[in-house]
Every structure is written in structure tokens, then in C-alpha cells.
Amino acid sequence: MTEQLVADSRRAQSPLLSVRDLQVEFTTSAGIARALDGVSFDVQAGETLAILGESGSGKSVTSQAIMALLPKPAGSIVGGSILYDGIDLAKEPVSRVRDLCATDIAMIFQDPLSSLNPVFRIGDQVAEPFRRRLGMGKKEALARALELLKRVGIADAERRISNYPHQFSGGQRQRIMIAMAIALKPRILIADEPTTALDVTVQAQIMRLLAELQAETGMAMILISHDLGVVADSASRVAIMYAGRIIETGGIREVYDHPQHPYTKGLLDSIPGAHAMGEPLRPIVGSPPNLLDLPAGCAFHPRCPIAVPECRAAVPSLREPEGAALGHHVACIRAEEVRSHD
């Protein structure tokens, strides 16, 4: 398959973005919460990595750390590195990261209404990156903005360009956000829950638009989501997060078809509609842990159906279990048992 060949040739290249052992802490009135604890992943040019997890797992904190958007002063990077183009973003001052992010790394958020300025016309907002970063004149910048709005599927763009954000629907606003994000042809696009606030038909359109734009531009994408289904069509690799750590990562088909972490397996079993109708769901017991009071050892062990006393002894690190596909890593000492229960 050509897909496979392309994937192989990419693996040989050095990654576009390399996150290594990232540690982020939040200072709260109740103590210090370690929101990210040793997160590592690579993103290659042209590939889509999905970062999946439930609330509090650290998936959004990861993108905030990359973009220097951690809420200050509560959150800070306390260890690890974020290597982009030979620069360690974790060590650079915020202003420098922002400059870089303006052109090379772009981001879209869940709520397009709160990310757009309500008192400026759409055209001026989409044109802003051209004017500020490329120093274009107003007319030229607006012409470029119009092109972009057409590209992301805003109907009647010539007229709509002078409308304000509230005059657009949620899906159209997300298209406008995407237009702004891709304006300067970023090399990486981070999409944090880009379709969570949207209706299901609109969600499918937006995911399709993102995939098309990626194919056209060759940019890398990091899709952050709580929804395992939404990313299934577009992502080639996934990283599943739990309590601030990546607990399983690998090719998406490998991970979804043969999950080897009990948490991943539990998540897949919890999805309604994924198995026979009328059958009760098999939820994971309990609820996600409090980051201020993490269980000893593997953070998942109190909810884990196959936990053994050793699970409490040490935090398991990512490893390639026996029989797993290349690049499939799991942070579970009993990963082999999970697989055998497929």
C-alpha cells in the first residue's frame, strides 16, 4: 500500500516537532498538581497525530505548553523539552514562542465564538495575519482573506467578508478560525476539540475540510479530542492520555483494533453503538483520579480490572509489548494479558 510506503519514508526523516519528557505543574490553592508528567511524542511533516483523553488527562495542557498558552502564573513547564526546528520552545521566552507560533505553528480551539473578536469584521480579522506578519497593505490583505474564506467554504464570501462574527453559524465560525489558522501556511496545525461544539453533520464537514487542507499543504496536524470516533478517519497515529501521561501510543488501527492498555480497552468498550445493540455497556468503574492526590504507582490501578499488587509499586513506563506492532507502546506491566483477552 502506498500509504504504508509514505509512512515508512517519513519515519526516516527527523520529526518536525519533538516533545521530550515534558513536565507541567499547576499551583492551586490546594497544592501543586502535576498536569503533565513525562510526556514524549514526535510529529512528522504531513502526518496527523491524535491526542485522546478524558477531562483532566492533560491533552489540552499539552497544546497549551507547546503554544506558550499555559495560564500564568499558575501553570509552568518544570521539565523536559519541546523541540521545533532545532529550537527548544520550553526554554524560549513567551514572546519568542508566540512569534514563531504566529507563522509556523497555528491552533484552532473548541469555541470559535470566543476566539473571534466580536467588534471587528470577519475580513479584517482574517486579513490581520497578512498585515501584521507579512506587512501587506489593507487591500492586498483583504483580497488574500477573501481567497481563504472561499477556500474554507464560506458561501457568498464576497458579501460575507464584511459581516461580524455573530452573523455566522457555529460551523461557519469554525471555518473562519481555520482560515485564520492556515493563513500563513503553518507547518503544524494544532486543533483542540475543533468540532466538540458543533452538530454532527457540521462536524463531519469540518473534519473533512481539515483533512483536505492537510493534503494540500502537507502540514502536520495534532488533533486533540475526547472522542475516539471523530479522529478515526483522519489520524494516522494516536496517543492516549491518562492523568498527565501518555499510556498508550501507536498506529491508530493497531491501537483501536488491539488495545493493550486496560484503560484504552475500557474506553473502547464504553462507547455506545460500538457493539451489539441491547447489550449493556461495559464502563470503566470509578472516576478519573484527582491530580492533587494521585494513586501510587500506575494512576489507573484503582479502576483497572486486571491490576495486581505490583501495579502499585512503580509508575510503568512506555514499552513495546511482545507481539505488538512496530511503534505500539504501552505503559502497563500487564499489556500482554490485555492483548490475549481480545
Partner: protein
């Protein structure tokens, strides 16, 4: 399943007035619900699906008396409840309860869990005698999977899933026949959502509850409902069992809606969750 319909909605019409910007004069109306017909039998779960603006929440709010119908008829156990007075509504709410989407906004932050569950009994004192209320509240907590030792804790001390369980316990307090769940599991993480869905299923069996289940999440609907109504622009465009709608949708809108549901493993059967063709423009 009995043939007697618990709830019967006929030709329901609900509109919201549009007011002019300065003088607030009524200049028109927005027809949220144009013509909706359906019945729910005792012990049955009926799902209402549709996208934002389809009118699904308005239908629910009108049934429970939070909005006034402009036309049509709502019958509960054969009685017309469309033009109920406040006293009649109060009696009616004993049989009909609602669980809301946001477990953070729908619980009074100043009341303990026990006070929240006991509160419906203050309005309907005959359901549980005063001296048994505390113990009954704890029994309900236990039934919905909350530790009864936490009865004196406040909502902020619970997680989202636990708060939704408190909301369910409160809805159960009056032993209703129908519970309206308006996006009741939408705000929950998937692992916790599955727990709550299983709980709703168990309670249905145990108390012969009927649910009107409103959700934008079609996989949830598919899982929990006996019958599903697809709402578009305030009109029911299709009705059927979840299986019929998923496997053989008739209406164009239903087809589009169900085709857009993300598939967990799109590589199986070569199925893709993306509808073919170009992006529809709105």
C-alpha cells in the same frame, strides 16, 4: 409493554416571540416546533434527535410546562395537560421529572446532597413521611451509586458523573412515571457516560420508568432508545426503531444525519464516516 400511552403529543406547536430591538414590540415569531406528534408508553424510552435549532429541547420544555404551547395537545395518562394551571402542573411534576445536561448548573450549590434529594418531598409531603426522609434520601443515593456517607457533602465536592447521579436521585425522589433527559449524559466523559447510561437502563427496568431521551449523540440514542424521532426544523421527519433508522433511513435529512456519525473503526468493511461528495454549503 402496555398499550396505554403514558404521554401523547398531538400537533404540538410552540413559537418564541421576536421583539423589536428598542421598543420591544412583538414583531413576529419564531416557530420552534411546528407540528410534532408522538406517544410514549409506560416503560418505554423514546429518543428525540436533531441538530441545534431543531426544536428538541423546546418539545421537552413544553411537555414539562416550562414553555406554553401555541397549539396542539399534550395528554398525560389521558388527561389534557396543555393548558394546566400552576396547581395542576405541580401535581403533574410528581409523575414527570427532568434531568438536565449541566450537572453543575442544575444543582443548588448551597444545599447538601441530602437536602437536594429531600427538596421535592417538601413540595409533595405525602410521598415520604418526615421522619423517614433522611434514610430514604440515603437509600436513593445508594441506588444511584453514590456513597450514602457523603449525604452531607455539597455538589462542588463531586465529579461531573457523580453530580449527574445526584440529579437522577432527585428526579427519582417523587417516583415519577416519566423522566425527561435533556442531553443528560452529553457533558460526561465517555467512561463515566457509560456508567450513567447503564444506571438509567437498570432504573428503567426496576421502576418501569419511561424516558424521553433528548440527545445530539446518535450512538447514545441508538444504545438506549426503543423508538427514535428525528426532528428537523420543528417537524418530525422520520420515526422508527434505532435499528431501522441506522440501517435503512428513508428521509434525506435522516440519511445525512446518520451518515455523519463518526465510526470508531472506519477501516472495517471499508466504511467511511464521511459522506461522499463536496462539502455542503450553508
Amino acid at each position: 409493554m402496555t398499550e396505554v400511552s403514558l404521554l401523547k403529543v398531538q400537533n404540538l406547536r410552540v413559537s418564541y416571540p421576536i421583539h423589536s430591538s428598542i421598543l420591544q414590540r412583538r414583531i413576529g415569531e419564531n416557530m420552534a416546533v411546528k407540528d410534532v406528534n408522538f406517544t410514549i408508553s409506560a416503560g418505554q424510552t423514546v429518543g428525540l434527535v436533531g441538530e441545534s435549532g431543531s426544536g428538541k429541547s423546546t418539545v421537552a420544555r413544553t411537555i414539562i410546562g416550562l414553555e406554553k404551547a401555541d397549539g396542539g395537545r399534550i395528554e398525560f395518562e389521558g388527561r389534557d395537560i396543555t393548558q394546566s394551571t400552576r396547581t395542576e402542573l405541580k401535581a403533574l411534576r410528581r409523575d414527570m421529572q427532568m434531568v438536565f445536561q449541566d450537572p453543575f448548573a442544575s444543582l443548588n450549590p448551597r444545599l447538601s446532597v441530602q437536602e437536594i434529594i429531600v427538596e421535592p418531598w417538601l413540595a409533595h409531603p405525602d410521598v415520604v413521611p418526615k421522619n423517614r426522609r433522611a434514610s430514604e434520601a440515603k437509600a436513593l443515593m445508594d441506588r444511584v451509586g453514590l456513597n450514602p456517607d457523603y449525604a452531607s457533602r455539597f455538589p462542588h465536592q463531586f465529579s461531573g458523573g457523580q453530580r449527574q447521579r445526584i440529579g437522577i436521585a432527585r428526579a427519582l425522589a417523587l417516583q415519577p412515571k416519566l423522566i425527561i433527559c435533556d442531553e443528560a449524559v452529553s457533558a460526561l466523559d465517555v467512561s463515566v457516560q457509560a456508567q450513567v447510561l447503564n444506571l438509567l437502563d437498570d432504573l428503567k427496568q426496576e421502576f418501569n420508568l419511561a424516558y424521553l431521551f433528548i440527545s445530539h449523540d446518535l450512538s447514545v440514542i441508538e444504545h438506549i432508545c426503543d423508538r427514535v424521532l428525528v426532528l428537523n426544523g420543528g417537524v418530525v421527519v422520520e420515526e422508527g426503531t434505532p435499528r431501522e433508522l441506522f440501517e435503512n433511513p428513508q428521509d434525506d435529512y435522516t440519511k445525512r444525519l446518520f451518515a455523519a456519525v463518526p465510526v470508531i473503526r472506519p477501516w472495517l468493511n471499508g466504511a467511511s464516516s464521511k459522506p461522499a461528495g463536496t462539502i455542503p454549503r450553508y
